[in-house]
Amino acid sequence: MLLNIRHLREIKSGVKNLLQHKLRSSLTMLGMVFGVGSVIAMLAVGEGASLEALNQIKRLGSNNIIISSQKPLEEETQQTTRSFMSIYGLLYDDEVRLASGFRHILRTVPVKIVRQSGRLGERAIDLRVVGTVPDWFRLVQRPLIAGRTLSERDMLQATNAVVLTEYGARRLLATRNSLGQHVKIGGEYFEVVGIVQSESGQGTGLQAPDQQIDAYIPLKVARERFGDVTTRITSGSRTRELVELHQIIVEVDATAFVESTAAGIEAMLVHFHKKNDYQIAVPLALLRQAEATKRTFNIVLGSIAGISLLVGGIGIMNIMLASVTERTREIGIRRAIGAKRRQIILQFLIETMVLSTTGGIFGILIGLFIPWLITLVVGMPTVVTSLSLILSLGISMMIGIIFGLYPAVRAAGLDPIVALRHE
């Protein structure tokens, strides 16, 4: 039965009937209000939670492939052997092979990471010294706050230039004029040529390629000044490691080729590496996975909320059925006066639809309010999508029809003579 402008009169009359029983109507509506409210609120919370994860992954770059050196498991166990040096990880040659051997690879960024303390006067900070190339700043795009990023000339001339993060700059340089200062890293002095914004990623296990304690220097400089061997002394035992490159970040020219390229890289690395000493991370795959998780999450939350909508609908049906019994006499009177069956059906159907739709509208208000409150109090991000609003309003109207139909048909099916005699 289509509701159109011709039924405006019936709708008005339905609203009037409902207003004559204010308490009953509002109690009936309550189930719908909270059902719809919880649907919207739950979806908003779910959407907000997953949005943050998705953003984090997107920051890794959906066209990127991140290959990291990883200490093989077997060498991890041999660590106790004295004066053992483990040699593993990505090679300078790997980068060359990647850069030349793949059609869809746009650029490769080799990364060498050295832990060193940075010092300026009396101030000191532990730095993650990242030896890399100018392309790094194209892959990991962070706003430049002052100065410049590393240049090709720095590479060629192997200048002692360093780009600090905002965090590092604040810790080391304090109030002094930042650029042009000479920071002592390890045993060398580096000139601060630029400052980029820090990555403030926290939470999720997915790490962006950069950290706030980074100091970027030319790869060649890192290799010459700090070498490939790291010696670490932990609780009396000495471990020495020889790692050429810690990371190679690869940018693929189009999203469509990311996964095939990742497979190609894997095949190439398997060929050249005897040990399983690397790890390939594909943010796009993570993104897909996160999106799948988000879908599951939404389905679970949605079904829970859907159940509350269902309960709300059953509540409406219950009251409407009770109301049919209670109003049997009224139905008999209307029928005796000349109301047709379908006019009685329409009357009851419109009443349930008005109830459920009004409930739905109040539910939307609650559904908007709760996520706002959650964000305000807990600080959790929430996103109310217009889809969830349309969906829940639509569902509440549907519930009005579905659960209103049975009581309405029952009401109309009453024999007017019997209905009139009803006490």
Binding site: R9, I333, R334, R335, A339, K340, P416
Partner: protein, 234 residues
Amino acid sequence: MQVALEENSPFEAVFEEISKIYTMGETRVCALDRVSISFARGSFWAIRGASGSGKSTMLNLLGCLDRPSSGRYLLRGEDVSRLDDDHLSEIRLKSIGFIFQSFNLLPQSTVEENIALPLYYQGWEPAQSFSRARMLAAQVGLSERLGHRPTELSGGQQQRVAIARALANDPAILLADEPTGNLDSDTGLEIMKLLTDLKNAGKTIIMVTHEAEIAAFADHQLVMKDGRIDAISH
């Protein structure tokens, strides 16, 4: 008895060999047994009889609330005995006015709204239907009570509202089922006076009652017994 299907028939309602049989499980109850009778236009009838004599069944059939098992019912010359539910509703809406023992007003609606209810189903505009309701309320002497709800009225006043509502569609027949049964005798007499006035204005009225005193207001009396007409007096 054969009656011509003519527009200018002097009869408002004609029963031809009307039977009504109810089946209750195994038993068959014959509520009306081949009843034939004609109700003239503008006449006032009282139907009397013991309970179970078939007088209520007769009124339900006259009011198109039910269909006969066999026989023909001509209302203003039109055979309505085989119509479906929708068409019967249509006949009730246009040609029948009901007055009940227990008034049967909508308790949550005002006097005005109750009187206008048949007009709502006829599709009248609210303004017009309320103006007609006010006119009818004045006719039954309730102009001062338009905004009241039935519970705020006396029994006599409620029955007046019911009469006004029954008149809203300007019916062919006014059917009254024990209209004074819930009223004290003085008020009952007032209601009977109102009905007599309506008869004098040309309405056909058929009333079921068991009180001889009330039946005396009618021009014709019909006594039912075991589903048959026992006696007719004029």
